[in-house]
Homo-oligomer: 132 residues x 2
């Protein structure tokens, strides 16, 4: 079934929302099954590439706890069709609040190569860095 | 004319080599015309996204000088066909040598969305970060 770019963008926004609404807000790490493809790779700053959904779940559980990250807002800056997939440039605002401190926002930017898997649009390659 | 993935990989390796052999070794910034697409974007760590080849040339001229960067070796880790383009995951070893100091290597990783422009395979979206 052919999807229009608008339909794909809506599906992407739904996936992106899960990162905040399920992972950050509820600590529901099973939601990563709907966010990352089974054989995805992430390239986090300050660490080597991490491959496969189980290892990626462990990375995020550890990173969110160690950063005291409370929420994240992702927004697309550019969405380019790339065959069966999409290359998205986006920005993220991550809100951190260590115990007893004021919340602070950190700006990041990212590139995600999206693929459709099991009828869902998911992150297949995910790399990001800080703006400052 | 349809190219095989092997032909595309060879063209990509030739472009990647220009980054070291022309830009780093000779200071030939005109070589960026063969490396980046006209409307490319780069997402460097510690700065906002930079759009368009003229601004990207200025970024690299400034970054190479301020880092005392002497050479770079790029190698592909994963090359995925993505419609008319390619999504490459790669690693880079950057050699820095500030005046009067020993050379030191820095490891980085990157994702590049490649597109063909004017018969050359070029970097259309380029994002990287440090491994440590």
């Amino acid at each position: 079934m052919t999807q229009t770019l608008e339909q794909i963008k809506a599906a992407m926004a739904a996936t992106n929302d899960l990162f905040n609404s399920e992972v950050f807000a509820k600590g529901n790490y099973d939601a990563f099954d709907q966010i990352y493809t089974e054989n995805s790779n992430i390239l986090p700053p300050g660490a080597p590439m991490i491959s496969g959904r189980p290892a990626i779940k462990e990375f995020w559980a550890s990173a969110i706890a160690s950063l005291s990250a409370k929420s994240v807002v992702l927004s697309s800056v550019d969405v380019a069709l790339a065959g069966d997939g999409i290359v998205e440039i986006g920005k993220a605002v991550l809100t951190l609040q260590p115990e007893g401190q004021d919340a602070m926002d950190v700006e990041l930017k990212y590139v995600v190569h999206w693929r459709e898997e099991d009828g869902l649009w998911k992150w297949h390659t995910d790399i990001w860095n800080m703006n400052a």
